[in-house]
């Protein structure tokens, strides 16, 4: 489904990604872990097409097409979804309008008819239940005044409505209490299908207790330095990142 080959990227002239290669197949959950500043979020943003990041080399192929050649909205229309680490507030645009606009643009791109507001509300009702959100929040401005937990649940709600082929969750667990974490993880698991795939970007292992990965990758200094199964996440939780960094010949800085 997704093939990243030797991807390099920079922001403001500083190279952040130093040659990432990763293959994700349909039905898989990949966890990308790593210490702060390792490039995890950059990778997520680059895959979504954030204009601040410049791809300086490598390729990304998504379902046989050149992902890097697509505008962000086209990527979304092709089924790529990024759950933001810091969801953006848009005062003045209701959640209902925002979601329906996105849903219809994606349908339009697929050659399908747009859905009218009433039918869309019907469709929303079970998606709302999935993330335990009240219908009233549809009439609130997008993320405006939402608590941290509400923002993250709203990301998963959008994911549930847009039904992406590839979902990238960027630090979705950060700032969540245990209940919100459970709700978010439940939502992600419920949306899992043999035809889609999920990349979970996280610093901590605790989200992976709820969303169990098939593959775990450790990112450091802008490249993947170790890959393994779900047990790798547990080992990182127990031992920290230093030993992996040392294995890879990277200075940890932790004892400096």
């Amino acid at each position: 489904m997704l093939k990243i080959d030797n991807l390099t990227a920079s922001v403001g002239g500083t190279q952040i990604l130093n040659g990432i290669s990763l293959t994700v197949n349909a039905g898989e959950v990949h966890a990308i872990m790593g210490p702060n500043g390792s490039g995890k979020s950059t990778l997520a943003q680059v895959l979504a097409g954030h204009p601040a990041y410049e791809v300086t080399g490598g390729t990304v192929t998504f379902q046989g097409a050149d992902l890097l050649d697509m505008d962000p909205e086209v990527r979304a229309q092709h089924g790529v979804f990024l759950a933001f680490q810091y969801p953006i507030e848009i005062p003045g645009v209701t959640n209902a309008y925002f979601l329906r606009a996105a849903y219809n643009e994606i349908r339009k791109a697929k050659g399908l008819d747009e859905v009218d507001p009433m039918d869309f509300l019907d469709l929303m009702s079970d998606r709302l239940k999935l993330v335990e959100m009240d219908e009233a929040m549809l009439q609130r401005s997008v993320n405006a005044g939402f608590s941290g937990g509400e923002k993250k649940r709203n990301e998963i709600l959008q994911m549930a409505v847009l039904d992406p082929t590839l979902a990238i969750l960027d630090e979705t667990d950060s700032g969540l209490d245990i209940d919100a974490l459970r709700i978010v993880a439940h939502g992600v698991n419920a949306l899992k299908k043999p035809t889609n795939a999920t990349i979970v970007v996280t610093h901590y292992q605790r989200l992976l207790n709820h969303i169990v990965p098939d593959h775990v990758h450790v990112l450091a200094a802008g490249r993947i330095i170790k890959s393994g199964g779900k047990e790798l996440a547990l080992e990182l939780e127990a031992r920290g990142y230093d030993w992996v960094l040392e294995e890879a010949g990277l200075a940890t800085g932790a004892h400096a």
């Binding site: 979504a48 097409g49 954030h50 204009p51 505008d71 962000p72 909205e73 990527r75 979304a76 229309q77 979804f81 990024l82 933001f84 969801p87 953006i88 507030e89 848009i90 005062p91 003045g92 645009v93 309008y97 925002f98 606009a101 996105a102 643009e105 994606i106 791109a109 401005s141 959008q158 847009l162």
Partner: protein, 449 residues
């Protein structure tokens, strides 16, 4: 060097003297004299620093459809009263409602297009020309008492030449259920003309009324509308004034709204300005009675080479009054916006509560805003704040929307709409609010940043 009087005002002054009715002649003479004294504003005048009205002064505009009695000949081909403007042409301005309606075509009252049949008791809506003939006592006591013509050139001009307009009188304790709608339409026959409509709104104690002024065009006539709206809000009364200025892209619009407020009264205004090549909006309120207040909000949308200038002056004369101002602007192309918000707090106006905000987004590098808050406070127990911001569309929000599949163009349109949303939300009338929201979404449909 003097630009005090356009050379062609002199013959037009004779026209003014013949406009009638006779009892108004001294007022017209006084207004002409004041205009001669004040002269056309120039950019050397502080209030006109950013807006040059010389295109109006030098444009050789002739008085719109002067009464035949005045000249013995028609200066413009006026045709029938409605000049070929039909109900269909009004549709974009009437919100699909059958509110009481008074229509003016090229500055003249068009009875066939108007709908004043079933007004509720205690409400009078009269064409100004009719009121001049038949209601001298009422008019004489009102005309020009709120809108002073000794300070403002365009108000003096209007006073000298006014023949058409509307007189709205709401009796004591009467709450008018439906908005009263005044629609001013110009078509090609307005080309080269200047009209001076006068609107008088008088709300007696505890009355409540909403008046809508809509300004529009059929085609793109190049003409001048110089309107003066004078509003007298008696004690405990509430007047809501919604003005939608969507005139031709070739038009000039000078609109002066002058308001006197008595004790515990409210004046609530919204101005939606998206038309005209050059627009000047003067909004002057006098808070004369204790405990009264003005809420002045507005939205300006400009593109192309439009120049849209909003001036407000709030005089806090009495104690315990409030004023609220929220003006927003969206400027694209080479659009030029001006906002000058004056608040004067007189020495007696203790416990004044004033708040003023002006926020603008620029959609292009060539768009421009001059914004100037001007607070002059002579009382010591006063709360007055002001704030102005100028920015661009939120790029983080734009990327967020695009990352959900929303096209770049749709995302930008939504962000403009979102920027305007909070000021539009201040409009209580849901029909008008929804109508304007749709206009905002349409306006920047093709915006490319």
């Amino acid at each position: 060097m003097s630009t005090t009087l356009a050379p062609d005002l002199a013959p037009q002054a004779d026209v003014a003297r013949q406009l009638g009715p006779d009892w108004l002649l001294p007022v017209r003479e006084a207004a002409l004299a004041e205009f001669s004294r004040i002269g056309w504003p120039t950019t050397r005048n502080e209030d006109w620093h950013y807006t040059n009205p010389s295109a109006i002064a030098e444009g050789k505009f002739v008085l719109a459809a002067p009464d035949e009695r005045a000249t013995g000949e028609r200066r413009t081909p006026t045709g029938t009263a409605a000049h070929g403007v039909t109900v269909a042409h009004l549709a974009p301005y009437t919100f699909g409602q059958d509110w009481p309606l008074m229509v003016f075509v090229n500055g003249r009252f068009a009875p066939m297009l108007s709908r004043l049949g079933a007004l509720q008791a205690g409400v009078r809506v009269t064409p100004l020309a009719e009121a001049m003939r038949e209601d001298r006592d009422f008019l004489e006591a009102r005309l020009g008492t709120v809108a002073r013509f000794d300070e403002h050139a365009f108000t003096a001009l209007n006073t000298a030449f006014m023949t058409e307009g509307a007189v709205i009188h709401v009796a004591k304790n009467v709450e008018v259920a439906e908005p009263l709608h005044l629609v001013f339409i110009a078509d090609e026959q307005a080309e080269g003309t200047i009209s001076h409509p006068r609107v008088i709104i008088a709300a007696e104690p505890n009355a409540k009324v909403t008046v809508i002024e809509s300004w529009g065009a059929v085609g793109t006539p190049r003409h001048v509308s110089n309107v003066v709206t004078e509003v007298d809000v008696a004690s405990g009364a509430t007047v809501t004034h919604l003005k939608m200025q969507r005139e031709s892209a070739a038009a000039f619009h000078v609109g002066t709204v002058q308001v006197n407020q008595a004790k515990d009264s409210h004046f609530v205004q919204f101005t939606f300005q998206s038309g005209a090549q050059l627009m000047r909006s003067n909004i002057y309120t006098h808070l004369n009675g204790p405990g009264c207040g003005s809420t002045l909000n507005g939205l300006v949308l400009a593109d192309g080479t439009q120049h849209l200038d909003t001036q407000t002056r709030i005089e806090h004369v009495a104690p315990r009054c409030y004023s609220r101002e929220l003006y927003k602007g969206v400027l694209d192309g080479e659009g030029h916006g001006v906002f000058n918000g004056k608040v004067y707090v007189h020495p007696e106006a203790q416990q004044t509560d004033g708040k003023q905000e002006n926020h603008t987004i620029l959609l292009s590098d060539r768009a421009q805003i001059d914004t100037k808050p001007q607070l002059e406070i002579f009382a010591d127990d006063v709360k007055c704040t002001h704030g102005a911001t100028v920015g661009r569309l939120d790029q983080a929000a734009e990327f967020y929307m695009k990352s959900r599949g929303i096209s770049a163009e749709h995302a930008r349109r939504l962000l403009v709409y979102a920027f305007a949303a909070d000021v539009l939300e201040t409009i209580e009338n849901e029909v008008v609010r929804t109508g304007l929201e749709a206009l905002v979404l349409e306006r920047f449909a093709g915006v490319v940043v």
